[in-house]
Structure formats: structure tokens, C-alpha cells
Amino acid sequence: MNPRVSHAILMAAAVLVLVLLGARAADPVLYTAENISTAAHADPATVQKRSPGNAAALVPLMDDLLGETGTLALTIKLKDYESAERDLARYSELSRQFDRLVVTLDVSGTDVGEFQQNNRQNQEALATLLNDTRRFEDLQSLEIEVRGDDEQHMAVVYEGEALRQKMREGFSAYAKRETATTRIAEHYEINATPYQESVEDFAEIADAADDWREEIGTGTKKSPLRIAVTPAEGRYGDTLLIAGTHASGRPGAPVEIYVDSRIAETVALDDGGSYRHPYRIGRVLAGPHLAYATAGPIYSEVAAFAILSGNTSITLALAEVNETTIACTGNLTTDDRPVTLAPVLLRVDDGTLVAAETDKNGTYEKEIALPAGEHTIRAEFHGAGYPLNASESPAETVTVRGEGLSPLPFAAALAALFGTGWYLRRRRNRREESPVVEPARETAEEAAVPPPQVEIAGLPPREAATVLFRTLRARLGIAETKTPRDCARIAPGHAGFFERYELIRYAGETPSEEELRAMEKEALGGDADAA
């Protein structure tokens, strides 16, 4: 084939290949073996090694939690309050770990989630029981002390009655959860015996309070401070009215209202001796709750009310903020009522969890920075501590463009281009310069070398010629590696000498005596003319 044609074909093919490759230059990884699978199996070498969480720890944690309820209830019953405090701290820590694990493993929708809710309520019940039992013990000793003083004795009796009612209500709620919790424990094959024992211990503590009531029971009348909660049940966002009267109270006297042993509000008695407080249901667990009031040392009876759990719905909308950030917004509502200041979790790509919070209108907004590519985001509300059920939004996909081209690599490429060009040019110039420099140096040295002495008598003619050649070459300052022909080229003035020597040396000719003498003269620098 004609070389021009083959060159043209080669050029065309090279250009075509470069264009095709250039089209993929923005995405240089043409193919990677990722998540290769068929219907029957997946290739484990190409599947990302990512565990969903410490799944092996889930069931043992549930086992530990049930065990802790048993220990805690026992230490409370034995009135070992220091150990009970330690046990309660450990129980809280385990509950926190368990909550985190349930969210990470994304199992809140199963019976594990139900177990988690029951566990939270159990934890609160046992904490309240510890405080109540401690106070109760103090009251029991106090009651004996103030037997003489009627007024103080009455106050102690009222408080004791309030505590007893609290413990009784607490126990009935605790016992109601036993069936469900035991069923779940059996499903996961964990030992529910400590938990069942804790229920029995709780019963004993409540019974002991009842017995004390029996002892001092005769002659006590109901507390002058009345309390009632209307309506007796509500949902998140509802307002319950806690109101009552104080038979022997002065107008303006302060009345402290407690909900679940935590102070909710301090109100003042009005002129009619009654008080009222609207209680809004916010971040409290669902289930039965207790309210009571105190006016000075006088405790009211305990009023029970129930908070029902409600369903929630959460929405998610994704919007692009810039090339690397996505804004996630949404609403969290329950039955058309917004859920305010609640924690919302955003799950990115089934892995990372980002926390957000709703504002006073139930709207949450969060900006997440993501790498370039496609991502899936889902918003979840887990209802921790709220009388609300968990809910999640449908998963939304978004493509993040990623940062545009930065100028730095282009600058580096230009710098490398110039650097390489400069280096290659320098190398080439240096290589061309060196042969030019040498002859100039040699002619300059020629004049400086003094005429040498040489002894050729007694040598055969051809060897004598060799000695003379070497002498002349040294005198002219030409390097010893140069051949006669090189020397003739370098020193044209002595070209004749060198050419003659070349014939003597390589063509086998023999110089005559006269020639030798002429060569000697020239070698020693006498005659500048050619021999």
C-alpha cells in the first residue's frame, strides 16, 4: 500500500479514537464491576462490604434491658437506694444504646419498636417508683414523729395517700405492659423471668404502701385540696384542664401542680378558693399519667388521666441549593395539628443519618452537602418521648451536580506544558552547542603549546611516522581519540600531513627518508606548509 495512504488512514483512525475518548473524558471510569448479580445470587466481591449496624447486639441488649428491670425493682424493694441509683443509671445508658441501635438498624416498625416504647415507659415508671419509695420511707418515719401535732400529721397523711395512689396507678400501668413485653421476649427467645419478677416486686411495694394506709387509716378524711383533670384523656396538642378547690386555703396562696412527679405550674388560688391550669399535651409518653397539687405542706389526691397515641405523617421535598448542597424541607403533622420542636431524622442512601428539628409550625428545614451523583433521602420521625407513632416519608431521589471544573488543574496543565517545552528545548540546544564549542577551543590552544622534542632515530619508518603523527596531534591540542581523518578535518592547515599518515597507517605504504624528515619538521612545528 502507498505509504501516504496508510499514513492518512492512521491519522484518521487516531483522530476518530481521540474524539470518541474525549466524549467520555468527563467520566473516565468506563466500567467497574459493582453489584453484579443475577436473580439467583450476587457476586460478593463486587458488593460493598457495609454492615447495616451491630445487629448481633440487638437481641442481647433486649435481654439486658429486661434483666435490669428485675435488678432495679428488687433493689428498690429492698430499699437499697444507692444500688438502685446505680442500677437506674445503667438502665438509662442501656436504653439509650438500644434506642440508637433501633434507629440505625431501621427496625422501629417491627415488634422491636413496640418493645422499645414499652421499655421507655418501664424506665420512667421505675425511676418514679424509686423516688416515690424513698419519699415514702421518709414519710413513714416522719409520720411517727409528728403523731402529736394534728396539723402536721394530717399533711403527712395526705402526702402519704398521694404517694400510695401514685404507686398503685404506676403499678397497674406497669402490669398492663407485661403481656405484650413477655410475648415479644418469647418471640426473640430472651429470658423474661427477671422482668416478671420485677412486676411482682412492684406489686409488693404497692401493697406495702396500702398496708401502711390501713395502719393509719382510721380517722383520716380526704384531703381539703381537690384536683380533677378534664377531660380524662387527650392526644398530642390537646389542652386538658387541671382544676380544683382548696377548702381551707387563703385567696392568693400558691398551689403547685405536678404532673408525673414533675412540677408543671405554680398557680394562685382565686377568691373562691379554687385554682385552674390549662395543661397542653406536648412531649410526654402515651399512656396513663398522674396529676396532683400541693399547697404548702398539704398534698391533694392523685388524679389519673390518659394520653392516647396519635398517628403522624411527615412530608419531604428536596430542592437544589447549589451544586453540592440539597435543601430538605417538610412538615410533621398529627391529625392536622403540627408537631412543634420535634426531632426529625433524614436517612441518606440507607446509611448516614442527619438530625433536624421542626420549628413552631411543625416545619423542618435542613441543608445537606452531598458528593456528586444520585442519592436517596427519606425523612423519619421516631416519636421518642412523644405520644405519637413513628412515621416516614416516601424516599425521594435527587441528582447532585457536583462542583464545576476548578481552574487549578488547568493552570497545572499549562505550567507542565511550558515546563516540558522549555526543558526539551534546552536539552536540544545544549546538544547542538557542544560540537560547535569544541573546534573553537582547539584552535585557541594550538598556538599556546610549545614545540615538543621527539626521538625517532632507530625506529622503523612506519613506526616513526606514527610517533610523529602523535606528536603533531598532541602539539595541535587535538584529542587522542581523533583519527587521522578527523584531525585533517579539525586542522585543515595540516590536512596533507594527516592524509599522508592515513595512507601510511591504513594502506600499508612506507614513507621515504625525505618524507620522514619533512614530517618531523612539521610535527615539531618548523614548517607550517603541507609536506
Partner: protein
Amino acid sequence: MQREAWAVLLILLLAGAAAYAHVTTTTEEYSRYNTGWNGTSGFAGEEIRDLRGLDPGAALLILAPDRPFTAEEAGYLRAFLDGGGRVIIADEEGAANGLLADLGSTMRVRPGNLASLDRNHADPGLFLARVVGNDTLFAGVETVRVNRPAAVEGGEPLLETSILTWEDADGDGRITGSETFGKAVVGAREGNLTVLGDPSLFINAMLAENLEFIQNTRAVLLDGTHSRTGTANLILNARLWIQETPPAAAAAAALAVLPVAWHFGRKRDD
């Protein structure tokens, strides 16, 4: 000139090697001639085609059967089982349920989409199952990594998943809606008959994941006619047929030798 000839020869050799590799391998699932990740070319089991007269001390593996067993063949297998031989059926599509019924077993394979949280990979179907019970097949093995297995009903459990396993009906990889956690059995045995719910244990990509278990299956015989370890590739089948029928092998040898003999044997007219 000679240099160019060498270059051409080298390129032809490389091309020939590539063509040979292409023609003698296939990409069919579970095939012995598939050297890729989903083939069983790395599995060291001797292939047999006749179920008659099997050595009663051996173990026979039926891997992902796709052809039904005739009553005759079921009879041979029953005789083999009664004689003390061991039969291992690895199936995850339920095609072996007919054979199991014929052999009088109560075990059945229930195909489905098992997913578990007890795993080390992002794919929910690629998880760990625990070995329960005593069996020589699982001697020295505590956990087995299974690859999208099916559940096995009946029999005495050999391989059990953790309790955090569920049947992923909607295929979203999470436990949602009415899906519940529960232990699933993916390997069971009844006398000498063992049913494994995961034939993927024997593919090339999984051999390295369960080294001890594969070691224990070293001496197993493979049922070539019913397992899906064959191939639909014509060239491979032709080669196999030539190897197995002596007259055909002799004919092929003759075909190769005769032209050479004729070339050197004829009288030269120089």
C-alpha cells in the same frame, strides 16, 4: 521480512488464544464450563451421568436441578439412599420438590426472598447462617455465608439464620409493613437425604467465602444429567460427545493423521 513474519505469528497466536477461550467457555449459570463468578468450574466434584450402581459409601450432589427425575431414576436414588449413600440436593427454585415427594421425604424447598440484618454486605440477601446440629458436611464450620437462599421446610435443621431475618415480599431491602422477623431454616436433613436451600454456595465467587465447608465437599459426586452444570453450547457438547464415545474419538484422530500421512507418503516426482 522475517521480523514481520514473527510479529504476525505472535498476533495470530494471541488472537487464537482469545478465540479458544471464548469458544470453550460459557456464561450460563452454574455451568462447569463457566469460569466467571457464577459458574462452577472451580468446584472439584467428579461428574457422573448414570445413577445406577453408585458406590454406597459416596455422597451425590444434585446442584440446581432443572430436569425432572423419572420414576426409574427416583428408584435408583432410593436404592442408593437405602444402601447407605448420601444424597445432597441444593435447590432454591423448588424444582426438586417433585423428587423429594417421590423419595418419600417430608422436606420441601420454599422459594422466596429471604433478607437478614445479620450480614457484612450491602445486599440484604447475602448474609450469614449458623450451623446447628452435627453433620460431617459442616464439621468445623460455625457460620456459612449464603447467597439469596430459599427456606427449607421439614426435616432436622442443619443451617439456621439469625432471628433478624424476614421474607422481603416487597423487595425493598427493609423490613416494612406486615413483614416480621423470624428464624428460617436454609439447610435440613432427613436420614441420608440433605436439602440445602442455596446452590449458590458452589459457584466460583462463593468458594472462597466458605472454605471449610467446600473442603468438606471435596469427595462429592456430581449428578451431571440433572444438575444445571451442563451447557447448551454446541461446540462444548460436541467435544464432550467425542471424548465419551470411543469410535468418534478414533474417527477424529484418523481425520487429523491421514492427510499428514498421505502428504509424506506419496511418491515425489522430482
